[in-house]
């Protein structure tokens, strides 16, 4: 079992048959993602090598992991919201044990984490894992 927030998404996805509805839902989650403060969008938080712009600002509070993230691409922003549901609130020592690719596969979104995709998701997951290491 992943986080309750992620399990909620997985449950919703079970009712969404085609990719259009799934994408629609992902885009809605991106719209609902709390905005990242523009002051945090600096080179240090920018994920390199992405065709679209992606930022991530990890934090740890009371041993719990969290992050702020944003992208100028709406699908990517929605996928960031999915990753946020997956990782936010987890104990720091849990982070390396979360298999993002396997969890996204449950949603049929794992191809966005493939090495060939230049959307920055994969680099973002690496940044999350490194920051909790």
């Amino acid at each position: 079992m992943a986080s309750p927030a992620f399990e909620d998404i997985a449950e919703t996805f079970e009712f969404l048959d085609d990719w259009e509805d799934r994408y629609r839902h992902v885009i809605e989650m991106g719209r609902a993602l709390p905005p990242m403060d523009d002051a945090l969008k600096v080179p240090a938080t920018k994920v390199d090598g992405c065709a679209s712009q992606v930022w991530i600002m990890p934090s740890v509070d009371g041993g719990r992991f969290d992050f702020q993230g944003d992208s100028d691409a709406m699908i990517v922003k929605g996928l960031i919201a999915v990753l946020h549901a997956l990782y936010a609130g987890a104990a720091v020592e849990e982070i390396p044990r979360i298999d993002a690719r396997a969890e996204l596969a449950r949603l049929g979104l794992h191809d966005h984490l493939s090495a060939q995709r230049s959307n920055g998701l994969r680099a973002m997951v690496e940044r999350i894992r490194a920051s909790a290491g």
Binding site: Y23, I27, A51, S52, Q53, M74, I75
Partner: protein, 406 residues
């Protein structure tokens, strides 16, 4: 009569599906698909006729050399060059322009000398000149297109000054589809004693080209965009420039004699083709050029003009779609954005789900993106096998994008 359905059957990949949908391949500006005759030629070259070229005296070496050298003549004919020895074969436009930068421009340009180029250039026709700016103080003078994407040749001519040594300019923008009047630019440049390099990567694919009518000094083409193999290509070099140019790469094939203390070079064009070339890629390019001339460049251009007009009409009905550039006589290359928040990558991701392949990004044209004030666009670039029905599929998919992202 140009029958696009017959043409399509010549391209095996066009019958495949992508994400459960028939492939609609509209990324021809990046690279084109290959007709069966090219694939068969590649196979035969390796399976039955393969050897190194210009070296052995054995039978296969002779066959391979004849097949390879025949391509030089095909390229010359395709470009309107009367002498095949003005064709230097290479891996494509990037290599061709780098060769000119290192071998011709670098030795004759000093700090303060200028190269005139347009902001529509592809990075392949920018970065080799940046090298000269960084290393020897050469000045790059930029000319911008008008709001409709057209480029008035006079603005290029006006940028030519007493220190200008070279005009490096595209024949067709890979982003806007704008066709540049390189003949008028060349005439004016030559009156001022200035050489002209033309990037023909896109133009040679979509319209008949005659380098002698243009009069330019250099004309670079890329095989993989011409329905040929990746790693094939050529550059036409006017005989006077060929005589002035020094070799860019050294190695086998480009020499006459090599001793401990001396080296003498082969005659051009061999002097500029060091090492074992892309033999089979180049032979495949010959088959691709035969294929294109078999269809007829005029007929290909007419077919693509029809697609351009049809696409322009359909796009015109989408009031939330911004198409960049609408120069008169432009090619069937459309860069666009959706009004609102959708990123080019969002659009291409959804189009891909519909089986439609387009390019999303900066299109290796950073200065043009700066000029247009965008970081990325989507580009649909049509080729000789595309259809009006594919324009309709694209428009339907764009309407879905509008629905998803608006």
């Amino acid at each position: 009569m140009y029958d696009v359905e017959t043409v399509r059957r010549d391209f095996p990949i066009l019958s495949r599906e992508v994400n459960g949908k028939p492939l609609v391949y509209l990324d021809n500006g990046a690279s084109a698909q290959k007709p069966k005759v090219v694939l068969d030629t590649i196979r035969r070259a390796y399976a039955e006729e393969y050897s190194n070229v210009h070296r052995g005296l054995h039978t296969l070496s002779t066959i391979s050399t004849e097949n390879y050298e025949a391509v030089r003549g095909k390229i010359a004919a395709f470009l309107g060059a009367s002498d095949p020895d003005t064709i230097v074969m290479n891996t494509g436009t990037t290599e061709g322009i780098n060769m000119v930068s290192y071998g011709w421009a670098a030795p004759r340009m000093e700090a303060g000398d200028e190269i005139v180029l347009s902001v529509m250039e592809h990075h392949a026709n920018i970065v080799p000149w940046h090298f000269l700016r960084e290393r020897q103080g050469v000045v790059l003078k930029w000319v911008a297109p008008a709001a409709d994407g057209s480029l008035d040749p006079q603005t290029v001519i006006d940028a030519i000054g007493p220190r200008t040594k070279l005009v490096a300019i595209t024949h067709m923008s890979n982003v806007l589809g704008t066709v540049v009047d390189v003949a008028a630019i060349t005439r004016a440049a030559h009156e001022r004693g200035v050489a002209v390099l033309v990037d023909g990567s896109q133009a040679a694919v979509h319209m008949p080209v005659d380098v002698e009518a243009i009069g330019c000094d250099f004309y670079a083409i890329t095989g993989h965009k011409l329905y040929g193999p990746s790693g094939s290509g050529a550059i036409y070099v006017r005989p006077e420039r060929l005589a002035e140019m020094r070799p860019f790469m050294g190695g086998g094939d480009m020499i006459r004699e090599v001793h401990r203390d001396t080296v003498t070079y082969n005659d051009a064009p061999m002097k500029f083709e060091a090492g074992t070339p892309g033999i089979v890629a180049q032979i495949g390019l010959g088959a691709a050029l035969d294929y294109m001339t078999g269809l007829g460049m005029e007929d290909i251009a007419a077919h693509e003009s029809d697609l351009r007009d049809y696409a322009r009409g359909r796009f015109g009905g989408l009031n939330w779609l911004s198409v960049q550039g609408d120069a008169p006589g432009k090619a069937a290359i459309f860069s666009f954005m959706l009004d609102g928040a959708a990123h080019a990558h969002d659009i291409s991701t959804v189009l891909d789900k519909k089986g439609v392949a387009v390019r999303a990004g900066h299109h290796c044209a950073g200065p043009l993106m700066d000029h247009l004030g965008v970081t990325a666009t989507c580009r649909a670039s049509f080729g000789l096998y595309n259809t009006r029905a594919e324009v309709d599929v694209l428009v339907d998919a764009l309407e879905l994008c509008h629905d998803l992202f608006a």
